[in-house]
Amino acid sequence: MVLVAATGMVATFQPRLVIDPIVPLGILFLYLLAFAFGWMAGQPPATLEGYEPATAGSRNVLAGALAGLLGGLCLGLLLIAITVFDLRGVFINMSPELAEILGFGLPVAAAVFVIAVASAFMGALGAGVHLLSRRVRRALIGALTAVIVFSVLTDLFGQLFAGLSLEPVIDFLYTGRGGALTIIGSVVIFGAFIVLFWWMEGRDSTLRQRVQAMPKGQRSRWQIGAALIILVILYFVPRIMGPFVSQILVTAGIYLLMALGLNIVVGYAGLLDLGYVAFFAVGAYTTAILTSPQSPAFNPEISVLASLPFVMVAAAIAGILVATPVIRMRGDYLAIVTLGFGEIARILLNSEWLAPVFGGAQGITNIPDLQIGPLTFSTPQDYFYPIFLFVLLAAYVTFALQKSRWGRAWMAMREDESVAEAMGVNIVTAKLSAFVVGAILASFGGSLFAAQIGSVFPHTFDIVVSITVLVIIIVGGMGSVPGVTLGALVLIVLPNLLREFSEYQFLFYGVLLIVMMLKRPEGFIPSKRRAQELHTEELSQDAWLEIYGEKGQAEQVPEGAV
């Protein structure tokens, strides 16, 4: 909590009201942490076969309260520190403003007391939810989350209701467009969602189970129907959501395309490539050079669509160029060398030496819009469709490769390179092909990116892009297409929608990574294989637990799937 306050997040979030006028975001965020501490402290220990399950009781609540209290006291100390000493020289965020917010405007002693009590109370609440029945707990937490989501994503929902011409709903729920929730609005949302979650928890079977229980013909009809409905909704998404949200979705789509490509390289073939941005740059610059009339050296001015085959070839060549020197490298060495390649790519693009070809720091501008037949794509809303198409293609390629001979060879190589070789897998071609397939997917992303933005500059192709793509697949679930999709949505869409958060984007990535590695190392939606891998590994560390392996997995999966 101290850390959060010290980094200035609270002060930044404070002007944003969650529920007008009583709950500001900064304070809410702070005390949600106390709630989380309590929740963790009060969590009943995992029950093992043959042990009496520990009964939840007042002791858990006490533990939660203590955890919250501890956090609160730290915060109190911070408050004292801020008011007594002037720390701004070292920590620029520790302003009197922050002290004012933290202390609710009270004198210091009273404020510390209030903070401690409030934190302890939140901690106890956090622990206390474990005492409720599962159904009540889910409904309560779900509804609370819904209120926060509605409030924080006010822009998104404002846009959504406006797009559906439901302006009265905005006026009812929010204090104007992009504003905070009204008290009535939050109560209504809370009530609606509590009923919804209550009902969902009460059903005996989920929709998925019911669909799976259907006879085969009916099931496939259902699935086709669902796919059609999703497609229709997707068709209208950019129209309803307007340019702002569409732009975010387009960015997310491009990242998703890259993530699916990197997923093949890292997830399937086990080759940790930290310079993946280089292939993205290859795609963007190939399109830029071939299509823009302002390309310095060479400007055939072909259309973006016609540039795609060249992009593919260029990416394949780049993939081979990067892969060839690293054929005999494994693990850490490979990661470091590819990291170097990523930087080399950016520096070359930026260099004076190659400026006659790549335009140096000025980049290449005036890239024409994507045109397919009579259709011209110019706005972010337009680009949503081709990018969606490419993502579908990439997802299909990923699925198809998984079952193929190549896929098997990659996985064998990931598991044990020399044994795979002894089985006849040609390590050289396997590595080259993984790099090339990954490079091509990333280059298409780059190509679309160049066409959509209309210009390319070297500084765009920063190491941060590689890292972000890697974080997406780690958080989403390596090897799993739905997981990677969710990862891209969470990591790209959310920080962009939450304007206040964008400053802390990488802090969130860091925290998210740590939490994920501890709690759910296989990602949000893991591929079945990875989930089993990670959890059986954990379990088989204690050999006697191995027999309970199946059960252990069954318990692990729903836990984090909130």
């Binding site: 098997r408 064998a412 598991e415 002894a422 294989r529 590994e537 088989s540």
Partner: protein, 243 residues
């Protein structure tokens, strides 16, 4: 045994020297393995047994000397090419693809073959190792040591090898399983597969092999039939635990 010259040995090393950087590991090694034979290579730790296998498979290139398969110089061949030509290895300590299923492990074994006639091969493996069939969908890493050894052998058999190289098949297995394992190796050999076993357990290996080579600090010091080696006093003192 077909030592009377007509067909060339399926696999042979002629005057092979292999270096690891500056370290001279194999010194003028000559080994001939003829079709249908079971040959073993005996030797203590650091005698160069594994290096011999690596040279045969093409992980390492000899600094001088030649590796022949069916009389053809294969020094320039990659590992994958040699495997395609009928050479397959069961690695030391099994080294299965632990996070893949048993079935996937077997599939990789048949990687270089066209996959239309695999059913018969599966049947052959299941017949030899009924346990493997029961475990087909399980992750290879969750099997017991004995079961893993079965999968490792099954994986090698899926390649329909002409020559099967076995690196320390007794390593890390309970004595009962070692005996069982050697019975299976014998069975595979009787089915027409040439087998080359690298072993520290000289008694066990010689009891099933036709011939044996003894490797000491990179040199072949003895080369004879199993019976002769078992009777050799020098051999008995050094490797068979006779005092």
């Amino acid at each position: 045994m077909t030592t009377n010259g007509a067909p060339p040995p399926v696999l042979s090393l002629k005057g092979v020297n292999t270096h690891y950087g500056a370290a001279h590991i194999l010194k003028d090694v000559d080994i001939d393995i003829h079709a249908g034979e079971m040959v073993c290579l005996l030797g203590g730790n650091a005698s160069g047994k594994t290096t011999t296998l690596k040279t045969m498979l093409g992980y390492l290139r000899p600094s001088s000397g030649t590796v022949y398969m069916d009389g053809e110089n294969v020094n320039g061949w990659s590992t994958a090419q040699r495997v395609g030509h009928g050479l397959t290895m069961v690695p030391e300590n099994r080294r299965l693809f632990k996070r893949m299923t048993v079935k996937e492990n077997l599939e990789i074994g048949a990687y270089l073959r066209q996959s239309d006639d695999l059913d018969a091969d599966y049947e052959r493996v299941f017949e030899m190792f009924p346990r493997v069939k029961e475990r087909l969908t399980q992750k290879a890493g969750t099997l017991s040591g004995g079961e893993q050894q079965m999968v490792a052998m099954g994986r090698a058999l899926m390649a329909q090898p002409k020559v099967l190289l076995m690196d320390e098949p007794s390593m890390g297995l309970a004595p009962v399983l070692v005996a069982q394992n050697f019975e299976i190796i014998e069975q595979i050999n009787k089915a027409g597969v040439t087998v080359f076993v690298v072993e520290q357990n000289a008694n066990m290996a010689l009891s099933i092999a036709d011939r044996g080579y003894v490797l000491q600090t990179g040199k072949i010091v003895l080369d004879d039939t199993s019976q002769a080696l078992l009777a050799n006093p020098q051999m008995r003192a050094a490797y068979l635990g006779d005092v």
